[in-house]
Symmetry: C2
Subunit: 186 residues, 2 copies
DNA sequence: GCAAATTAATGATTTATTCAAG
DNA sequence: CTTGAATAAATCATTAATTTGC
C-alpha cells in the first residue's frame, strides 16, 4: 500500500505532549486562530491537519469529563456502599447520567505557571510562548468550527524533524527518545 | 452598520425552497462536494456560505425528526388519554426522551419525482439537474465536516438574480486572497 | 516467540441539546 | 417562537495493546 494509506491521524509523541501541555494549561475549545497556530506548530513534528487538533480537543475534553464523572459516581457509590453495604453496582457502564455534572472541578488548571517554557519529563525545553492567547476564562461564546472554514491549507506537513527552520516561533529540537508514554498511570 | 453586519445567514425564499426540495428528495447529510455545489447554486440567490448549507441540513433533519417524535408521542398520548381521560401533558416541551426513537418512518421520501425541473409556488422554474448525485440511500459513511476543510472560499455571493449564467459546475479559480480571515466582525 | 483473536484507546462522525438573534 | 449557530454527548471505526493457542 502507499505510505499515505492510513486513514486516521496518528499523533507523534511530541505532538501529543504539546497538546496535553496545552490542555493542562487550560486550552479546551481553541478557536480558529488558535487551531491554526497549534496546527502549524505541530506540523513540525509530523503530518497533521487542523481538524485533527480540533477533534483532539473535543475528545480529550469530553473524555476527561467522562472520567471525572465516573470518578464522582464511584465515589458516591462508595459512600452508598458504606451506607448500605451493597457491594454490587460497581461496574458502572458509563454514560449513565448526562447532566448535572457540568460544573466539575479540575478545569482551568492554570497552575503550572512557568513563563513560556516548560520542561518535559526528559528534560527538554519547549517554547510555548506562541500560546499567549490562551482563553483567560473565556465565557464568550466563540466560533467553533469556523476555523475549518478559513484554514486547512491542506495537510500541513513539513516532514517530521526536517531541517526547516520553523521561524515562526521556534519550537526547539525535541529528541524523540524520552517522549514515550509519560501519561498513563502516573 | 456596514452592510455586512448581519451576524447570521438569512436565507432567501428561493434558497429555502431549493433546500427544502433537496431535503424532500432525500438529501440529509450532504458531503463536501454536494455542499459545494449546493452553495454555489444557492449563492445565485443571495449571500451564503457552505456552513450555512451544512447547518441548515443538520438542523432541518434534527427538527424534522423531533417533529416526528412529538407526533408519535402525542399519538401515544392520545391513546393514553383515551384510555385514562387525562387531558394534560399535551404541551410537551421537547427533549423529553432522548433515544429509542431513532428508527422513525418518514425519511428518504424520494417521492416528488419530477425529472429535474420543479415549479415553485410562484410558477418559476428551477433547474435541479445539477443534483444528480443525490444519495441513493447512502449507507456508506461519508466525511461530514471535511467539506469545511476544503471549501468555503469566502461568503459566496453573486448578488441575487444577476445575469450570471450559472453553469452547473466549475468552481472558479481559487485565489489565496480569499483565504484570509474574513470572520471577525471586520 | 509469533501471529490470529480479543480487548482497550482514541480518532472521526453523527446526533442531541443549548444558546441567542430576529 | 422560529431557527441559525455552537457545544456537548453518543456513537462508529480503526489502530494499538493484550491475550491466547500453537
Amino acid at each position: 500500500m502507499s505510505p499515505s494509506s492510513s486513514t486516521r491521524w496518528c499523533p507523534t509523541p511530541e505532538q501529543l505532549m504539546i497538546l496535553e501541555e496545552l490542555y493542562r494549561r487550560g486550552v479546551r475549545t481553541p478557536k480558529a486562530s488558535q487551531i491554526q497556530k497549534i496546527t502549524a506548530h505541530l506540523s513540525y513534528y509530523g503530518k497533521i491537519q487542523g481538524k485533527n487538533v480540533f477533534y483532539w480537543f473535543q475528545n480529550h475534553k469530553a473524555r476527561d469529563r467522562q472520567k471525572l464523572r465516573k470518578k464522582l459516581i464511584s465515589k458516591q457509590q462508595q459512600t452508598f456502599d458504606l451506607d448500605h453495604q451493597h457491594a454490587h453496582y460497581n461496574n458502572l457502564d458509563s454514560h449513565i447520567m448526562s447532566s448535572a455534572f457540568h460544573q466539575l472541578p479540575g478545569y482551568n488548571s492554570a497552575e503550572n505557571n512557568h513563563e513560556g517554557v516548560v520542561k518535559d519529563t526528559g528534560g527538554h525545553m519547549i517554547d510555548y510562548s506562541w500560546t499567549s492567547d490562551l482563553p483567560k476564562d473565556c465565557l464568550i461564546r466563540q466560533c467553533p468550527h469556523d476555523f475549518m472554514m478559513i484554514m486547512d491549507l491542506g495537510p500541513t506537513f513539513h516532514c517530521c524533524r526536517n531541517p526547516r527552520p520553523l521561524q515562526t516561533l521556534e519550537l526547539f529540537p525535541i529528541r524523540p527518545s524520552n517522549l514515550i508514554d509519560q501519561e498513563t498511570t502516573s
